[in-house]
């Protein structure tokens, strides 16, 4: 019988949203348009329109050794061209941001190829070849995994995920990389490391509270779904905890 991944336990909307993001067969809803040039500007790794700097010659010219693994694994576009490895890092507010660091890493691992994610409590960084990174970043910014107010692209100085929101609903950012403008759109005025941009980059309007709560992937007893309300999730975590604790004693269920 073919194995069908379950992606995660739980009966709550949070659990369902987590599964939706992780399942690569589930097409995530596209909620905004961000152009390729905008993505390049926010990332700040190269000037828009500039050629991709390379770390090594293209694989076609490199004369690769005879290796069985290289025959099995198809290189990504970035690897084929010999691009540099670059990064994007997201900070996600605990107040019902549509994705969260661990959730991002799980989802990226199911959906993307050739990545090296790094997961921390309030931020998540992913490294990969530059042109792959731009494609992945565009996907991450345009789909329901991103909200302009509660998620933020922050290469450095990420503090804010666990703080109270600002009056206008934006997550605190010491560097104020993006602003909620008068027309209701969030615009990036600095790239992800805090260098001013030549022009503003529009990433659309923040989603409303109802949408955020319905698309949240974090349990939150005050503003969202409390963890203890999802009995199946609690049982699963308790089971894992129990098995890990007893592991040295060769547990048999």
């Amino acid at each position: 019988m073919a194995y069908t991944p379950q992606y995660g336990p739980g009966t709550s909307t949070v659990a369902e949203n987590r599964r939706k993001q992780m399942n690569p067969n589930n097409k995530l809803e596209k909620v905004r348009d961000v152009t390729d040039e905008d993505v390049v500007l926010i990332l700040g790794h190269r000037a828009p329109g500039a050629a991709y700097p390379t770390a090594h010659p293209p694989l076609a010219e490199a004369g690769e050794p005879d290796c069985p693994i290289r025959k099995i694994v198809t290189p990504t576009e970035g690897a084929k061209a010999g691009d540099r490895v670059r990064y994007i890092q997201f900070a996600d507010s605990m107040f019902n941001a549509p994705s969260q660091p661990y959730q991002r890493t799980y989802s990226y691992s199911y959906r993307f190829r050739g990545i090296d994610p790094g997961t921390l409590s309030g931020r998540q960084i992913v490294e990969c070849r530059e042109r792959d990174l731009e494609a992945y970043s565009k996907f991450l910014l345009e789909t329901e995994m991103f909200d302009p107010a509660r998620c933020s692209v922050r290469g450095a100085t990420v503090h804010g995920h666990s703080l109270r929101l600002a009056e206008d609903g934006m997550m605190f950012d010491m560097l104020q990389r993006c602003l909620l403008t008068g027309d209701g759109n969030v615009k990036y005025v600095k790239n992800q490391i805090g260098e001013p941009l030549d022009r503003e980059v529009n990433v659309g309007k923040p989603m409303d509270e109802g949408w955020l709560k319905a698309h949240s992937t974090i349990f939150h007893s005050l503003v969202g779904v409390p963890y203890r309300d999802d009995q199946e999730y609690v049982e699963y975590v308790q089971r894992i905890h129990s098995l890990r604790t007893k592991y040295g004693f060769m547990p048999k269920e």
Binding site: G155, A156, M174, L175, I193
Partner: protein, 156 residues
Amino acid sequence: MTEASYPQCRIVPLRMLKPETAERLLNSIVKVCGIRRMLVNGPRLPATVPYGPARGKPNPHSARRVITVGDTEVELQVQVGQVVLEVEDRGVIEEVRSVCDEFFTEIPYTLQEGIFMKTKPSLVDYAKYGPGADESVIGLTDPGKKGGLVILQGLK
């Protein structure tokens, strides 16, 4: 330094305040008589980028600006998250509460009583101010920073 006989309270709004809102809030609080010391607290907004590849570059931020409290200009260096007050007696806290009840109509807030200011000089305070430090200064400013405290004037 804090005497045990002076009560303290802190005002914590559910959202962090814009400078304009903070200015209005502080101006309505300082009208209450009997406030000895006041501390505006929140995450810092540095003038230059503190970390990362852009370290040292200017950091323009709309929330870091000069506000006027009473007749005194105060440079906000933080996004206002809470306001800590030391008052003459507990009756003043009730007056502050009534001011806050009128002020916070859109954002919920909590007003807590307790000890929220430093009660003893720390090692860093000793290094900066020495053994004969003015006790009313301790805990009001970050001893590692150059800026001092502000004395509010023009309240009468």
